[in-house]
């Protein structure tokens, strides 16, 4: 609060000498701005430092220690990383994360764009349709997981009944290792598609209508217009969608897997992020978990750097 008084007096001083030496006034104003900026930035900078930056560094540092449940640290060098390289479960979780990524991101892209194209039309009740498509996104993943678990329950779940009536008797969507990850992919697309629909919709609305009008006059069909106008002009949006979807797939999914499958059956839905959690809080291997986490931190940093470079500081538009 003292900054406020300080800058206020500085303000008065400046106003008093407003008619005087311009360069002195400018220097004073710069000092004032610097001081104000310091106090404005202080709470968030401090918070980000303690709860984001320090943990990021700590992720790497902790990776060099063995930490037991009582919090005693023992330096073991690159031991955790060596262990990681030879840990089949770690590699399995990497593979599952990549499969999940390959399953979710293209699906979300296609479904999100498709829904956006649909609800962009001038049809009656389009507002209500949009709301229905979006609503899963505001539900917590715990509730999402519960509802789907209920619907997918062996034999009694409504979707299992539907599958049985279609001739797929005794299908266990969550109990069969070969099906469980696919089920998690479907649930992920279900609750995220509304979010990407809105983003694509915003992108579509930025495309000037005249382009379509001109193409129509030139006799371009719907598919041609989509290929020649919509897709290229949607590129910034598409880029943003792919980036965010990838990040949210790698770092999200923890709540969902936690409640829906618990990483099972037979580890078939143990995503990397869940494996880290498991190691840390179920097996008490904080150091090993931090080592795996540090790899993820580095991946995200590299991803941020790429994004920053490609978008020139977060500008996702063309100009």
């Amino acid at each position: 609060m003292s900054a406020v008084t300080v800058s206020r007096t500085a303000g008065r001083a400046r106003a008093g000498t407003a008619g005087g030496n311009a360069s002195v006034g400018k220097a004073a104003q710069e000092r004032r701005q610097r001081r104000a900026a310091f106090w404005f930035l202080l709470p968030d900078s401090l918070g980000l430092l303690v709860f984001v930056a320090v943990p990021m560094v700590l992720a790497v540092v902790l990776g060099f220690f063995r930490i037991d449940g009582f919090g005693s640290f023992q330096f073991i060098g690159v031991g955790n990383y060596v262990r990681m390289a030879g840990d089949p479960q770690f590699w399995s979780s990497v593979r599952i994360t990549l499969l999940y990524l390959v399953g979710v991101v293209p699906a979300i892209f296609v479904v999100g764009l498709g829904l956006a194209l649909l609800v962009q039309q001038k049809i009656p009740f389009v507002g209500a349709i949009r709301s229905m498509l979006f609503v899963p996104y505001v539900i917590s993943l715990v509730v999402v997981a519960m509802v789907w678990e209920f619907m997918l329950g062996d034999r009694t779940g409504v979707l299992s009944r539907v599958a049985a009536s279609l001739g797929f008797e005794n299908v266990s969507f969550l109990g069969e290792p070969s099906l469980a990850l696919g089920t998690v992919v479907v649930v992920t697309v279900w609750f995220q598609m509304g979010y990407y629909m809105v983003i694509f919709l915003a992108g579509l609305q930025d495309i000037p209508g005249e382009y379509y009008e001109a193409a129509r006059i030139d006799g371009a069909g719907a598919w041609q217009r989509f290929r020649a106008i919509t897709l290229p002009l949607l590129r910034p949006t598409s880029f943003f969608v792919i980036i965010t979807a990838t990040v949210s797939v790698i770092t999200g999914g923890l709540d969902l897997v936690f409640v829906l499958t618990g990483g099972g059956p037979a580890g078939s839905t143990t995503l990397l992020i869940f494996y880290i959690y498991e190691q840390a809080f179920l097996f008490g291997e904080l150091g090993y978990a931090a080592a795996i986490g540090s790899v993820l931190v580095l991946v995200m940093l590299a991803w941020s750097a790429l994004m920053f470079a490609v978008t020139r500081g977060g500008r996702f538009d063309n100009d």
Binding site: F40, V52, A59, I129, M146, V158, A202
Partner: protein
């Protein structure tokens, strides 16, 4: 798809066949109507399929234990017993109040701090500004799940395990809000503060009485978003608390489900109660939610 942006007023057909129009236009109009019906049907079917899981949850929460696993769409004898059971067997109200208090506090503090930081980054000139922005930007994608373990270690070292502070403070800080607000402040015209500066107003006064009032739309959009995200938070509360008095609603229903495995009528009632506030917020603040997603699209 065919008529994405024809600019044809939707009510053309309903209107009386007023002035004569070229034949071809009328043909397009008729086609438009047919595709309109098809799209409408498609939209409604997809919409209903999408919300079916939620309707199924609500319907199940009113069914008896005997009926909950049956395939009947609506409960044959709707009962409130499941809700009564949930609220009497576990301190569900307490969980909800905890969640409300925590989410509201995080939202208010986060918006305050982020708007201050964003104001400085967008409207004040000082050395190192770009570096600070770059540093903040670099943490944009590092979300809590990624640094869960080291954050837990930090919070434990600060003695905040099993406390409201431990639930609230680490959740306040993220680059995302700062980034969005900064984008918004950068887009405001430069003349905005000039008059106030000439009058000798402090930067704090400008922030309070010029910038904040202008940010109302974006702040309210972000507020809805932050509140929802924190109401729905699960992993961090799970990690940082074990005291049942500090249990938040998501943790409460997850624990409840573990205790009552297979008692779907109770579990669905609990899930419905936990989802209800988010659904209400969605219905009342839909526009804000959509706006903040659009802003997050770096538009």
């Amino acid at each position: 798809m065919t008529d994405t942006l024809t600019g044809t007023p939707p009510r053309d057909d309903a209107a009386a066949p007023a002035p004569p129009r070229p034949v071809c236009t009328r043909r397009t109009d008729r086609r438009w109507t047919r595709s309109k019906v098809a799209l409408l049907v498609l939209g409604i079917v997809l919409g209903l399929l999408t919300i079916f899981p939620l309707l199924w949850m609500v319907s199940g929460s009113f069914k008896t234990a005997a009926e909950v696993n049956s395939a009947t769409l609506l409960p044959s004898a709707p009962t409130l017993d499941n809700y009564r059971y949930v609220f009497t067997e576990v301190p569900f109200l307490r969980y909800m109040l905890n969640s409300f208090f925590i989410s509201a506090t995080i939202t208010v503090l986060a918006l305050w701090f982020h708007s201050m930081a964003a104001y400085a980054l967008a409207r004040l000139k000082f050395r190192g500004r770009d570096t600070i922005f770059l540093l903040i930007f670099s943490t944009l994608l590092v979300s809590l799940p990624v640094i869960l373990i080291p954050t837990f270690v930090v919070v434990r070292a600060l003695g905040l395990v099993d406390s409201y502070a431990g639930l609230i403070v680490p959740a306040i800080f993220n680059a995302f809000g700062i980034f969005l607000l900064r984008q918004f402040y950068v887009s405001l015209p430069a003349e905005l503060e000039e008059a106030a500066l000439v009058d000798g107003a402090s930067y704090w006064r400008i922030y309070r009485s010029v910038i904040l009032p202008l940010s109302k739309p974006i702040l309210s959009a972000l507020a809805v978003f932050f509140f929802l995200a924190n109401w729905n938070a699960f992993v961090w509360p799970l990690t940082i608390t074990s005291d049942p008095d500090l249990r938040v609603v998501q943790l409460g229903i997850a624990t409840f489900q573990q205790q009552y495995v297979g008692d779907w009528n109770y579990v669905l009632a609990a899930a419905t109660v936990a989802a209800l506030p988010t659904l209400l917020i969605f219905f009342f603040f839909q526009r804000q939610i959509v706006e903040s997603i659009k802003n997050a699209g770096f538009k």
